[in-house]
Symmetry: C4
Subunit: 231 residues, 4 copies
């Protein structure tokens, strides 16, 4: 994939988070990776969204070495890199402070699969990380945030549940492509909103049955997917 | 009715669900039926709303036989067909995952008629289906969803309460025309939003009196309707 | 005042309720009165807002005699007229089903003055009417709605608290002019939204002190008002 | 700084509160100060936002003496001046009735730092003032509002937590520049919204750890800030 194409896709993912109301101010950041070339493209730090261009995207390698150093990379770069190194299946990471996903992250309440909207995109509960220790909040804070996410997903397929709530912080979301990660970020916010309201009305509400969860997830994902047009 | 006209009306109904904020991503689907010709027109599966045209609408018969097979029909086609076969009074079906109607479906709490906004369009409580069994969530899942809706309405006039909440899933709404079904989908979301908030503030709140419910419903529906301009 | 001017002002008030998100579909209606000429101008019934013109406004006298009969008047005309007859100080009435004001009307919970946003426009609690009896919900239902509002304001100055919540229905709001009634409808929705959330967080919350309530109300209303530019 | 530049910046801050949905009607007011020239620029009272120009901004000295008297200054001028006199570090003050910040002010519940969205801009709990006494609600009400804010911040750095909730009223926010105060007003509303929802779901929720709070605040503020592009 040409670098220009990846830069454009990452720019679009960043702009889409604003268009979908998932970020305010300069919060949030999206990245993408070209696994073959070993290049990561990420939003620059603190640049207003309405002045952002594909050229402004920062290029690094998987260790965070900046290959194109006009602008400083997003301050969350280290978290993105930790996820790319640990989850070889993923091609894009998005971080937002979207309202309801962040509320659940602040309350440290995982999002149970209460309905098929959730099941269409996430095959089970969206987990919350443990809080970071004082040591983890030091110089390597951003990398430690990545490590605690990876710890949370030990033994799980990150594409089954492509999102996590970092305790006291907010959501990180991923996908095979920037387009898929963008969609997952949008759906996460909606299922967080719905879960918050459903839990408030019925505090003892149970998740949907596994047969319904799987039926919906597998309709949209995997070898037997029947949703959408044949490709 | 010419097929072109029905396709346009179904397209408009699909686009209206987006304009009214009732669907995100490619969720949701609207259909219409020409009873005389035995033709059903429905949204194609997984096509972005901003690229949708009247020509992209898929035409089938009442058994789901596709009569125009360029695009795959909405994955919920089987539910729409079950409703058309069981409810001869209806001419259009709309399925959304609109936020508050879906919250109530997830919480499995029916929507009581708490006010005249509800009574203007729905003559009584909007019911929730029972959850589907593992068997019903198999190969014929979509048809079974239709069957459980029909079961919920046994002995009831589907035009008195033109909406249902499928447990753990979301709302299906209908009407005599695509325009009417669109309006019912919009009002359903608003009455679900209001009911959620009213129940949270006053958990023991009772529905409005039957005399007020009927007064409002019959002002807009039936032979003695006085709302709007004489036709 | 020329009738054309009143028609324009009433049209603007109707359109403003849509622009402010206070009505959906064809819900809601605004009217104005020329006291000198004894003419009331009101929205026609069931006409889509995006097709509404000043010419479409319906003109009646204070008894509801239509003086310009091209279109049928709003089905709530009788309530507006009852208010104009009982409250000689008012020049405009607006009825909406705005979300939070309607939630409070459905829950039959009056809106206490919890803050200065409320106090700037309403000098005290916004009351809820009693529910209408079966008899009052008959042929003269719309007039009875007006009568129960007037009953609720017995002994009160309708310009001190220019709004009411009709139990199980929604808000009616008024003012000296269509512009003022529009503003009151907008503020009412906001104070209802705030009050719902404040009550949920602190169920035993008390209203602000009378000295603060009066300080704010009188800053914007009455002979000693200091808000805005000198006229 | 030329006065024209300050007027433009204050106009922009006022308009931004509308664009960000922080004010309705003619609520809200933003001001800025040129410390060298001893001149304060503030919104005029009661002028519709869509008719507001830089020239309409009112110029006063630090005692409220109007130096350009075409229009009456915002009725909250006295509060702004009290803050400028007490907090020499600040260059701009913004007052809004933004929904969730006002709800918390009405409920008299301080906003704890539940997450990093809060910590990025506010180094600790956003406090609520005590209610004003009847005496303080007299002729010098506006100045007394300023005094009670200053009292609340005794012994605290106003740039560590650049916002306060005035009990039963709403938020006042500040910053070194109108741009910074605008951003603080926007973030305040978002953290108030999140805190309200997090508290409703988990009433006993505790603030984030001090090490996380400081880590985020100092990433964006102070000598060792690493967020954004090098200036």
């Amino acid at each position: 994939m040409p670098l220009t194409e990846l830069k454009n896709a990452v720019l679009e993912a960043n702009l889409a988070t604003v268009q979908h109301g998932l970020v305010i101010a300069t919060f949030g950041n999206a990245s993408g990776i070209d696994r073959g070339a070993g290049r990561v493209v990420i939003k620059p730090s603190g640049v207003p969204y309405d002045q952002m261009t594909a050229e402004a995207m920062v290029v690094t390698d998987l260790n965070g070495q900046v290959l194109d150093n006009r602008l400083r990379a997003s301050s969350d770069l280290g978290t993105h890199l930790a996820l790319y190194r640990a989850f070889p299946e993923i091609g894009s990471v998005i971080h937002t402070h979207s309202t309801f996903a962040t509320i659940m992250a602040q309350a440290m309440v995982p999002i149970p699969p209460f309905g098929t909207t959730h099941a269409d995109y996430f095959r089970g509960e969206i987990p919350v990380t443990r809080p970071l220790t004082p040591d983890e909040t030091g110089a390597d804070y951003v990398e430690a945030t990545g490590a605690v996410i990876v710890e949370t997903f030990r033994g799980r397929d990150p594409l089954d549940v492509p999102a996590v709530l970092v305790a006291g912080h907010g959501p990180f979301v991923w996908g095979r492509t920037p387009e898929e990660a963008t969609l997952n970020a949008l759906i996460l916010e909606e299922v967080a909103r719905m879960a918050w309201h459903a839990m408030m009305l019925r505090p003892a509400l149970q998740p949907i049955a596994t047969h319904l969860l799987d039926r919906h997830f597998l309709r949209k994902h995997g070898a037997d997917a029947t949703y959408g047009q044949p490709s």
